[in-house]
């Protein structure tokens, strides 16, 4: 810094009087108020990676808005151990770039820890970087089972509900509406890691509860026209259409399903609120699972939704929520242990401290697979004419599991899990 000013001061004539004065003033400030300068570098840096382009880019946009709000609130409340935090948030682009950026953030940016991701494949590569560097990573939005199963590692914690929990939550909704036993099911699955994961868990659940399979087809992730698949579905004459589609494919599917007006009940094991909103009222039908929604009746969710609407002028989606609570949870944990040391943080979280997730029950990271245990929900569509705003057409269920059931009810048991740390 001082070198820079030195250069400016000794610059040739053309620099001009004003610039020299400015540089001089800046130099004087730097000399006169060293405390402020030191405070600047004394911030706790937090690294954040999430996809902002590609098929998950829209969801990543929500995530960034959520985490920026958490950053502001944490700093306004005094930061972590009295130090302000500085969030460095970047587009993770793809699994390879995500790993490169993660390494750079740990090594060069010297972040205290890293969090983020929606894409399961990118989360997997960042997890490897975290393990190699022996540094902390909180995977916020990736849902693939294998991340907290066969691929689990000591340095990574998982915030979002995994595929198995989504299927089990959705399954509870289907059982409630009598859509499982004796049903003839047609499965339509996205042909990639997440889709296959979802299909495996879904078929297991449905078979276990007395449903039969009449169709089971894969479609590429870039399918935008589903009409030939809709014909296949009609040929099979199912009594339930179950989708295991990823990202915004679900939106395309439900729009075209409504276009053809097929009479069979629809259910799906994955649909983000943003994609449901994009389908629009009148197009969406069926039962879907979710990890959080804006109508949860707790003071925490109410305050969060109100603050988000005030700041961004729209209702938050579940990715905005998860990034928001994730940073809050980490801030709370670091304040509790009064340290940013990654080893201490991991040891602390493994003691299963409770965290407020703005839901009815508090959540905790399970010690042996680092998976956040929390309530989930299902949603259906409100009848036409019972809502005013376009984002308000989803009808959310009560929390699953019920208050009298254990929180880990929907999660795989230790015997079922392949996680070995």
């Amino acid at each position: 810094m001082s070198n820079d000013q030195q250069d400016r001061k000794t610059a040739p004539q053309s620099t001009g009087r004003r610039k020299v004065l400015q540089a001089g003033a800046a130099g004087a400030l730097a000399l006169g108020f060293p405390a402020i300068v030191r405070a600047q570098s004394d911030k706790i840096k937090i690294g954040h990676l999430t996809p902002l382009t590609g098929f998950l880019g829209a969801l990543g946009g929500w995530a960034v808005q959520g985490i920026r709000m958490a950053e502001e609130e944490i700093n306004a409340a005094g930061g972590i151990m009295g130090r302000q935090i500085e969030l460095i948030s970047e587009d993770s682009v793809n699994p390879t770039t995500a790993a490169t950026k993660a390494q750079r953030m740990y090594e060069q940016e010297r972040v205290a820890l890293l969090l983020g991701e929606i894409n399961s494949a990118s989360a997997k590569t960042i997890m490897q970087v975290a393990a190699r560097n022996k540094r902390f990573f909180l995977s916020t939005g990736a849902r693939s089972d294998v991340l907290r199963g066969a691929n689990c590692n000591r340095f990574t914690f998982h915030m979002d509900i995994p595929v198995t929990v989504m299927v089990n939550a959705e399954g509870q909704g289907l059982l409630r509406d009598n859509l499982v036993k004796g049903r003839k099911v047609f499965y339509l699955t996205s042909d990639y890691l997440f889709g296959h994961d979802l299909a495996k868990a879904a078929k297991h659940f449905m078979a276990e509860h007395g449903a039969t399979t009449v169709g089971d087809e894969l479609c590429a992730t870039d399918v935008t026209d589903f009409s030939p698949y809709l014909l296949k579905i009609r040929q099979a004459k199912p009594t339930l259409v179950a989708t295991n589609l990823g990202g915004n494919q679900v939106t395309n599917f439900v729009k075209q399903y409504a276009e053809f007006g097929l009479p069979y009940a629809v259910a799906g094991f994955n649909l983000n609120t943003a994609d449901a909103w994009a389908a629009g009222p009148g197009n969406l039908s069926g039962i879907w699972p979710t990890v959080w929604h804006q109508d949860i009746d707790t003071p925490g969710t109410k305050a969060f939704v109100a603050a988000f609407r005030k700041k961004y002028g729209k209702t938050p989606e579940n990715h905005a929520w998860i990034e928001y609570v994730s940073l809050k949870v980490l801030a709370q944990a670091m304040n509790e242990i009064k340290s940013t040391d990654n080893g201490k943080l991991i040891a602390h979280l493994e003691k299963q401290p409770q965290f407020d997730l703005l839901k009815t029950r508090k959540g905790y990271f399970r010690s042996w697979d680092h998976q956040m245990q929390q309530e989930a929900y299902t949603f259906t569509v409100k009848p036409a004419g019972t809502y005013k705003e376009a984002w308000d057409f989803l009808q959310f269920s009560a929390a699953i599991p019920r208050p009298d059931q254990p929180l880990e009810l929907l999660a795989p048991t230790r015997a079922q899990s392949e996680c070995k740390m």
């Binding site: 590429a220 030939p228 014909l231 007006g261 909103w277």
Partner: protein, 292 residues
């Protein structure tokens, strides 16, 4: 017997889908014919057509939105032709590719800045939803309407090019621009009109597909790939080649999905590969000299 019926149903559905591709691919082919530029920004006009129709629908409803959106985007096409495309008619084809590719990226980011990255909801009027049954065949009512619109547009474009004095000048200009100039006819306004026509067709496609596809910034990049495949299979610049190819692509995709659903998207690229292998200028293509 039943299996055969299912297959036939997929073939017919594929033809309907072919109409869907045709609207985009024909404009792309037309612009290439007159200017020799492969317009990679064509998908951007498709996306703009969809977004414009949503904006107009807020005030005037679905029908007027579908009619006015191509007009609005077509006006943009005038600027596009005047300030960008025109400079590249006689230039190295690679330059035209680069500039339109750049414009496509700028348009996509502009859409992201204006309307946001999240997909926008778009619905058709309730009356257009549902299916029509012809015998045992099921058709989406909306797609049949779409097919009818495509047929009208197609007939209109064909008549314009083949039965009017305007079309005669355009066709002459495509083959011998120097002779047309020698006869004292300025080709420029004709070129502009054709580009505007192609752009408006893309926008019409966007407005019509908005209720059944996803309206989001990358929708243009998504459609341009398929449209380009259709044009290449049909033969760059060939009117009937594009028509034939669009229908063929729709049918091949439908039939593949009937037997191997997971290979549906791959099938159209395999088709392109085979066609290029045995007939590099496309099914009915005549002029590949532009690229030689």
């Amino acid at each position: 017997m039943e299996q055969l019926l299912f297959l036939l149903e997929q073939v017919v559905n594929g033809l309907v889908l072919g109409g869907y591709y045709l609207l985009i691919a024909l404009g792309l082919s037309l612009i290439f014919s007159v200017g020799g530029v492969v317009n990679l920004a064509h998908g951007a006009f498709y996306a703009l057509g969809a977004y414009a129709s949503l904006e107009i629908a807020k005030y005037l409803g679905f029908g007027p939105a579908v009619a006015l959106s191509p007009v609005a985007v077509g006006l943009l096409g005038i600027l596009f032709e005047r300030f960008f495309l025109r400079r590249f008619y006689t230039a190295d084809p690679i330059l035209g590719l680069l500039v339109t590719f750049g414009l496509a990226m700028i348009a996509e980011q502009a859409i992201r800045m204006i309307w946001g990255a999240a997909p926008l909801p778009a619905s058709m009027p309730q009356a257009l939803k549902g299916s029509v049954f012809l015998g045992d065949f099921i058709f989406s009512r909306y797609r049949l309407l779409l097919l009818a619109i495509v047929a009208v547009v197609l007939a209109g474009v064909w008549l314009l090019l083949n039965k009017t004095s305007f079309g005669r000048v355009v066709r002459a200009g495509i083959q011998r621009p120097d002779m047309v100039a020698a006869l004292g006819i300025r080709l420029q306004p004709y070129m502009t009109t054709i580009v505007v026509l192609g752009v408006a067709m893309a926008a019409l496609g966007g407005a019509l597909f908005a209720p059944i596809a996803l309206v989001y910034p990358a929708m243009g990049a998504e459609i341009i790939t398929v449209a380009f495949v259709v044009v290449v299979i049909g033969g760059l610049g060939s009117f009937w080649g594009v028509v034939l190819s669009a229908l063929l692509v729709g049918v091949v995709r439908g039939v593949t999905i009937n037997f191997v659903p997971a290979a549906g998207e791959a099938s159209i690229y395999v088709l392109m590969f085979l066609v290029l292998l045995f007939r590099p200028r496309g099914l009915l293509g005549e002029r590949i000299e532009k690229f030689e």
